[in-house]
């Protein structure tokens, strides 16, 4: 897995987000075992306590559960994962819409643009 950390936000939050993305995208499937703290720390080159904190946050969100001796697992409840997926999608759409608004596109114009892009892709063209 490739990890990327921005300098201006807490690392544990970014770890948490990237782990969430890996769960939602199925890289860590429902019920699947997560790598050990030490292995994640090494892989991402971050402090083990930071990994611990990110995982604890995911546990609090019920996306991940710990089994006393055998480590941490992704939740088996796929509705839970779907819910998080929808939350992430909404956030992305929100960001997109406000960025479009910043360059002067109304919601309708943005929608029209999306439809147009879809048509163009179907035709296999590169020109709008």
């Amino acid at each position: 897995m490739t990890w990327r950390f921005e300098p201006d936000r807490p690392i544990y939050i970014q770890l948490q987000e990237q782990l969430k993305l890996a769960i939602v995208s199925g890289q860590y499937p429902p019920g699947g075992k997560l790598p050990a703290v030490r292995d994640l720390a090494e892989d991402a080159s971050v402090n083990p306590n930071t990994v611990q904190r990110a995982l604890a946050e995911l546990e609090r969100e019920m996306l991940v559960y710990a089994q006393r001796t055998s480590g941490r697992f992704v939740t088996e409840e796929s509705e839970m994962i779907e819910k998080i997926k929808t939350e992430m999608a909404l956030k992305l759409v929100d960001e997109f819409v406000s960025k479009m608004a910043a360059i002067g596109y109304s919601k309708d114009e943005t929608n029209a643009m999306l439809t147009k892009i879809e048509e163009v892709e179907e035709r296999g063209d590169t020109q709008l």
Partner: protein, 231 residues
Amino acid sequence: MAILNCNELRKSYGSKVALNGINLTIEPGRIVGLLGPNGSGKTTLIKICTGLLTPTSGQALINGMSPGPETKAIVSFLPEATYLNSWMKVSHMLSFFKDFYSDFNLDKAQDMLRNLGISEKDALRSLSKGTKEKVQLILVMAREAKLYLLDEPIGGVDPAARDYILNTIIKNYNPDASVVISTHLIYDIEQVLDDVIFLKNGEIALSSSVDDLRENHGMSVDAYFREVFRC
């Protein structure tokens, strides 16, 4: 009990004050960055903790004890300048460390050397600067110590060697031990650290966890450091 506890620690060299009343506590399981510009007192603080220097006043306690033979047995120190004799072979250093420190894990050291493709038969003289620094770090990290004091471990090595050194620190993480790393190369190291201590003219200018600092100031430790120490 705290692994390291400094209490009103002061050190002067003649009229020059190097440390001016340091109070700090480091708990087990932390990786701490000791950050500050040149001449801020980082090395003096580390050398007092190793027992190489004595404080002018105040005290530094390691696991509740003043520096002495008992603390040297649980403190693993990487000095800024290499002290390895160039005529020695890597194998000599291994037996040296094995004789000196009862907590030296020979298997671990040999394993780490093998992973780097360093032969025990190599004379230190024949190793590059970066490799020599790696050998020294391996010797220090292969001890099962309570407190690791690393003085500028990533200065003067290339970025790949730097990554290796940081990964070695992560790989050897032990929840019962603490690591103190002094450096001014903050950018490379901050995601490895739990806490940072900023030293300025022999005083603690800031002590915080890395994530708290990022949360409170909305910038990296590196950027914040540049702001605090702007010339």
